[in-house]
Symmetry: D2
Subunit: 342 residues, 4 copies
Amino acid sequence: MTTNSKINVGVFGASGYTGFETISLLRRHPSTNLVFATSESTAGGSLSDIYPVPWDIPLIAAADAPLSKVDVVFCCLPHGASMPAVIAARAAGVRVIDLSADFRLTQADIYQKWYGVAHESPALLDSAVYGLPELFRAQIAETDLLANPGCYPTSVLLALAPLLQAGLLDTTAPIIADSKSGVSGAGRKPSLKTHFVEANENLSPYNIGRSHRHVAEMAQVIDALGGDSERLIFSPHLVPINRGMLSTIYVTLAEDTAAAAIHGLYTEMYGREPLLHILPLGQLATMAHTQHTNRCAISVTSVSPRQLILCSSIDNLGKGAAGQAVQNFNVMFGLAETDGIQ
Amino acid sequence: MTTNSKINVGVFGASGYTGFETISLLRRHPSTNLVFATSESTAGGSLSDIYPVPWDIPLIAAADAPLSKVDVVFCCLPHGASMPAVIAARAAGVRVIDLSADFRLTQADIYQKWYGVAHESPALLDSAVYGLPELFRAQIAETDLLANPGCYPTSVLLALAPLLQAGLLDTTAPIIADSKSGVSGAGRKPSLKTHFVEANENLSPYNIGRSHRHVAEMAQVIDALGGDSERLIFSPHLVPINRGMLSTIYVTLAEDTAAAAIHGLYTEMYGREPLLHILPLGQLATMAHTQHTNRCAISVTSVSPRQLILCSSIDNLGKGAAGQAVQNFNVMFGLAETDGIQ
Amino acid sequence: MTTNSKINVGVFGASGYTGFETISLLRRHPSTNLVFATSESTAGGSLSDIYPVPWDIPLIAAADAPLSKVDVVFCCLPHGASMPAVIAARAAGVRVIDLSADFRLTQADIYQKWYGVAHESPALLDSAVYGLPELFRAQIAETDLLANPGCYPTSVLLALAPLLQAGLLDTTAPIIADSKSGVSGAGRKPSLKTHFVEANENLSPYNIGRSHRHVAEMAQVIDALGGDSERLIFSPHLVPINRGMLSTIYVTLAEDTAAAAIHGLYTEMYGREPLLHILPLGQLATMAHTQHTNRCAISVTSVSPRQLILCSSIDNLGKGAAGQAVQNFNVMFGLAETDGIQ
Amino acid sequence: MTTNSKINVGVFGASGYTGFETISLLRRHPSTNLVFATSESTAGGSLSDIYPVPWDIPLIAAADAPLSKVDVVFCCLPHGASMPAVIAARAAGVRVIDLSADFRLTQADIYQKWYGVAHESPALLDSAVYGLPELFRAQIAETDLLANPGCYPTSVLLALAPLLQAGLLDTTAPIIADSKSGVSGAGRKPSLKTHFVEANENLSPYNIGRSHRHVAEMAQVIDALGGDSERLIFSPHLVPINRGMLSTIYVTLAEDTAAAAIHGLYTEMYGREPLLHILPLGQLATMAHTQHTNRCAISVTSVSPRQLILCSSIDNLGKGAAGQAVQNFNVMFGLAETDGIQ
């Protein structure tokens, strides 16, 4: 499978939705050569054994992954399981794009609090860069360990960042993110909650308030951008849709501000971003704006001079996971940022 | 079709979803006799021509409705179209349950502002009673003109009422209702927005902030219950579900209050209500709690001593329309409140 | 919970969809008193722990079921698990309505061939009656052991029966039943196939030809009604719908026959059946005709003088399971056949 | 928008689903330059006015289309409306790929019988080539007027062709195609049948037997390949899915034939086709095999030595419309057949 002049990549965890989506994107990427893909449950088989595709990509056990033959690995394993794979890859000098939560939080104790296990490599945590290219492009280009953001944080943080960076928020008022996610965000492991009959024709809030793990990740970036993360209220809802995420975000401004001025802030900051779509004033972002794409679409609605509603739409497997991982890969390797994900 | 000792009823507007649902409920009601059902588009035909049911209920033009033979009519016509039917029925001495918006707002000028037409009978407006039985049961029992609430207001107001009546809200803070509705709430008239391919696998906010007509209706009751309706922010979303509505409501309390105390307030006020289901602390209301029922399910979640999230679930055609209309009918005629809608 | 003059019933297997649906119907039945409901996984808890309902029906282990206090039990257990419960109930003199496949096949060896385990009570098999009331009402009224039909067989056999009984089929030609089922037919146990993301926006044939277990059950009745079951081809498909089943059935007639004559045969045989809906010629049965009902809707389409297409629609949990079980119960106990399932 | 060395293309009818899908594919095609796109309803606007995309593709009236600047046009207009556009394009010497039904039937009188209008250019009919590349590649390469097949015919004919060409079918037995289609196949124009609430959670047969227009198109090719089209029975069903089509096809063989021999026939004929996916024996084609692709997936199941079931899956907007149109374009212009549709 090797090809000269291409970047050799491996994928850990090919059998989940983010792993499969990552491979689907890499197959069409002009500059990558897929050297290996792992799956513990289907090791020895092929990707076509577990997904309805005609491509015969062999799957191997993670322990057999030829790390010496790749330049970079995408880790699509669940949190906890990702840590040892990342540590091994970094020890072998391989650059890492980790789609799990294992390297997103900068502090090991906070990781342990939210994920219930001790972090296995606090030292590596220090070197990890949080992969929101629109906010942290320069650091991403330099890093060898990229922590790809969660889907909810991507949708919320991209929407909040312009206001936070410009210092426009009333830092004493709640930031309320009411988020709706398609079911693929819950992974491929069957459960009663994601059983078709239970999820279909239903809509369920879960872990609302400040109890979802993604609160920690959002809080870290909100604080870094000058906000007060203690004011964040985040309410995820499961909706009967395969792919898609919409966050409806309610914020209070410190001073009366015209809608046009806010909108101008967004177009100025994001207008040249290839994967951000700022809607004209008067239009609202829907899931359809980004489904099966790697973009984020954001709309700004002024309710009153102090009250704004932001609607932020991503595909949870696109900009919310695999698409953003490939975007980060492109930045890390100096490629055109939309290669393979246009 | 007349039967002694039963209440004779007529239905205006049988061909829409609320009209059909009303007739479906009335068919099983132990104390009603359906005298007529109208449909302009199918006059001369039968309900089975337009719905996949085996019952042959003849449909007539509204102009041919024998008002002298009924005790009460359910008006299931669109707003605007309902006014003349209501006026005619009241002139004939027939009691009216109006499922449109035409008699919900107490002030004719506010009606005109939101619905774009002058009200045809401001005098009748004064006699109309807003039909939330859990709040206004005594007045409902006495009225001859019942304005059945909208679906969104039902879900939001039932959730807010205990806090408003107890004066517990910080009246300077926003009341944010993020609502999600199944598509039947948009009626049966085809449109691009409700075309299957557009609505399916999509989730769309619309008329968010303070621009949806139901804001007026909610504001009127919020103010009547001692709140400040100017703080209301209401964001409806269309979700790919046939029937169901969930409002996730974010409120701020005036003083630090324990979750158990709030929950106690709800169980005290609503615990004996046959059609309200207050969930135990720790559980969250989902659409499945009320789908194909005439109940409202409410959960209370404390985020902090001052921040609450209420989740309020109804079936938009049940407690949000036809089910509540039959409940109001039962109250108006002194029947058991759950007759026909259990 | 006992009440005089009501029939005391117990339900084994309350936690699956058919068990829950059975209990939901029995709650509204005018002549039943629910004495117990069992669930091994939730014994000691309540039905509201596992379904989003406000009714607190206690769940007990099957071993603790007070058989001496009931007149009849509904067995809603999986095949194999149902046998011992049925045997115990019959030993206690309790009448049984078994919704599993355990007593549907009259021959123990055929049961073993299809279900992979030896039958535990061939003697009881002899006394069991197959519960299609429209075909076997007299025997059902007399039996103490009712084998409630499978969903696919109900939809296919009710459609074929008039042609088989009248001897109109060309017995050398294939009988092709292309069936489509909602996902609740697969039960409540999570699996990859019924995971929301896999089933949604997908349609999958499975066990097509003569390999699905329901072939045995259909074959038995086809032969009993004078057909040749060897000609049956049955192809089930999973469709992204919660409840509903449609069988499109292709048959060849022995002689040229006018569509009106065929239609007349169906209306004559089924026209007075309260739970069968024979559509007028020119209309086609859809899932919507029977969803959330306990009816079967059948349409007849003539392609040519020898070729017919029958479309047969049921709700797989209604006429295809719990609804038909209650109908059989009504017949067994001499009640009005639609009590509780209208 | 002009670029040297690229093929200049125009699209008539950009606002429907096939037009939009065609443009979406052409945007990524390495060898095309989109010169114009027409929409009568949105002339003067942009594609982003009617679809949630960030690309600003201007839309013009068909009368303003600069035919002299293009090498080829894709006609995505409804049948009837397509004829004048095709005639004008051919008169201007522009090659045409017509996605409507207007040039699929070789005989004008048969066109008139099925479509109810006289054909406007029987002469052009003679020059049109039916665009199933796997069957008619040589003729497609030479033609200036390509009639892109309907979605149902594509799924049925690709599955039947190997058996027809090999003369293996019992020509006296019915060929039964039970087809299931996603709702986008019905177009973007709202109607009650495609209203979300009516189509969702429902499954409806329509025009079953020999009454759907696609029967004519299938019959023409079945006869051309040596079959007897009078034996065709075709039953389309609408399923609550956006994109996808599955045809379950029941055929009788003239002689006893082993499953492996049949399967070998398919792999021999289609094994090297880049857009056909013949599944291994024992697997069944599902909609998921081809959704959001331009492939056709076919499975072969032997019920008995004489009875076969073929399952044939396409995306109705991919291989069933726009994807196949681009494939035909590639063949017509001597490009790699999967350019832009891989």
